[in-house]
Symmetry: C2
Subunit: 349 residues, 2 copies
Amino acid sequence: MAEEIGDRAQHLLKVLVESYIRSGQPVGSRALARDSGLDVSAATVRNAVADLEELGMVSSPHTSAGRIPTNKGYRMFVDSLLTVKPLTDREIITLNGQFGADGSNQELAISVSDYLAGMTEMAGMVMIPRTAKRSSLRHIEFMPLSDHRILAILVINEKDVQNTVIKVDRQYTTAELQQAANFLNSELAGHELFDVRHRILKELREAKDGMEQMMHQAISMAEQVFEQPGTKLLNDDFVLSGQTRLMGFEELSNMEKLRGIFEAFNEKQEILQLLDRCLDGDGVQIFIGDESGYDVLDECSMVTSCYQVDDEVLGILGVIGPTRMAYERVIPIVDVTAKMVSAALAQSK
Amino acid sequence: MAEEIGDRAQHLLKVLVESYIRSGQPVGSRALARDSGLDVSAATVRNAVADLEELGMVSSPHTSAGRIPTNKGYRMFVDSLLTVKPLTDREIITLNGQFGADGSNQELAISVSDYLAGMTEMAGMVMIPRTAKRSSLRHIEFMPLSDHRILAILVINEKDVQNTVIKVDRQYTTAELQQAANFLNSELAGHELFDVRHRILKELREAKDGMEQMMHQAISMAEQVFEQPGTKLLNDDFVLSGQTRLMGFEELSNMEKLRGIFEAFNEKQEILQLLDRCLDGDGVQIFIGDESGYDVLDECSMVTSCYQVDDEVLGILGVIGPTRMAYERVIPIVDVTAKMVSAALAQSK
DNA sequence: GTTTAGCACTCTAAGATTGCGAGTGCTAAC
DNA sequence: GTTAGCACTCGCAATCTTAGAGTGCTAAAC
């Protein structure tokens, strides 16, 4: 059953979705006939809209109300009908140079997320990937704590610092630890985190026969640092801002629903999985309603794009808001922001 | 106008508040007479309650509804009437050993906050003070970044790591930075952060005439680290969990109000100021409604207590929930939790 | 075959009306 | 000081009404 839609029906769907996004009210045949610009009567429009309903593009909340787009209708709208409104020059100028390359990735992510939230009046989010292949270990450092515990400090990439506590079988002196760190730095520094974890440590361990005692210990410390189950070293993270703006939308005024969404935000893992799925695509991607696979988001849409350096995708950024959002405005904002971030990161390399 | 309240009136207020906390419904004179256990009629109760109303302890939402406690009524209730329900042995056993001394302060705070939120079914919060006098600098370390920028890593207390980027006038080699760090460590390590910032650096600078060039530079780097305007080194922080639970309370089902509260949570600074005010008092403190000074919290109460080691207050923890909360249960939970945290911290010293 | 006008029908949202129950305040008696 | 009695007020929920919007169908017009 090929879903062929005539030109007129497409046009009507477009006008209907636009009108609904603007007003939030179901769109009736009379208004649609007027707004469509077509020189046809409401009755004709009724027939066409009845076809759209049969295809599952629109539905009526009740017998005698107008039609509202279904998720499928939104999907068709953003895929084939939407005319994106490019940013004005002024907006681009404001955006340009907004994101400095100073500060940590964390700080950059926060400022980008705030920016997205502010521009779109919805919630902004930026994923900070730590597993990216390009993450390389720059420096490792140990400090003795009391009780056979050691604080390991890692500097990753340019300016991200991570630390974790490991346990060892005896006390070490500062000098011993320094020596261990020196050895590990000479062996590991500059390598990519992924490699360190999966390959280099293994190689070192296998070749350890000829090594002295201290190096053995250094390697087992490093193993603990990189394998520690609770470690957040290698987990992605994301920042979110402007969540409270979502409370302003009527379609999300159902407490239960909203609570579900907020709880999903707190369960970072779930959202991250979702964001991971955006990594595949190129350019701006859109999840409409339950396309995300999460029930709680069934009245929300996400507009995302990935940012990258040298053709390698580093992460995802985007916004989340009600399904009924001004896509034609949000899409270019997300798009351009991703490009700006990519540029800022390339510069700081 | 001394606010003298007879014994009977006090008792009635107590029963009224308890009943309202339980049911959330305005309490009428008949029900109050029945529940009070007094052998008086509803009419008598009406007279007494009218007196309470005159004193501002209770009010009626409208002419012919029962009475509900005002903030002043709640205040009297928690100050003089409340009979606290001690925790059961089982609860204390569960609580005991809940909080390990491993991991960073941050991690401890998160687990405590989660615990408070879980036990009380409201939002939990724990302040992580960084300005505490006992915060002492343990180690400082520099790493060169590109472009005249240096990454400074500070280890504070046992296991808190902070880092910040500073700018310098020329490139430094790793060796130079190592030397500077060595010098600073020998001068600063073990001193309290507050002193480092306000006293020791000053002394060093004043005495710098006899020093060599490298030490001058080391001192000015340290000054940048500790004075940098954007630095979060010395700012307190706090963690909050279970915010979404607040969405479950009817009295907070007003979107606008709730949004205000959530936004206040995001504006950490404001909440921290509020928490600072708790530092003065001993034991459990309670803010009822607008006593906090924040309009947005006028339907909320905070129950807080400070945790301490060796009689020195380290920080604040507590819960936040609707004014109509089960104080007799929440108060001991907060109280005992604070004591447990104090104990856990003392142990880990 | 497509388009249109006409019309009966459906459904919602917003008021208006009503009755009920809860609770008060007052008064007069105990 | 306490109590019973009673008129009165108010909110709430149920019910009804009405107006308006919009549909679906049919039959006629193009």
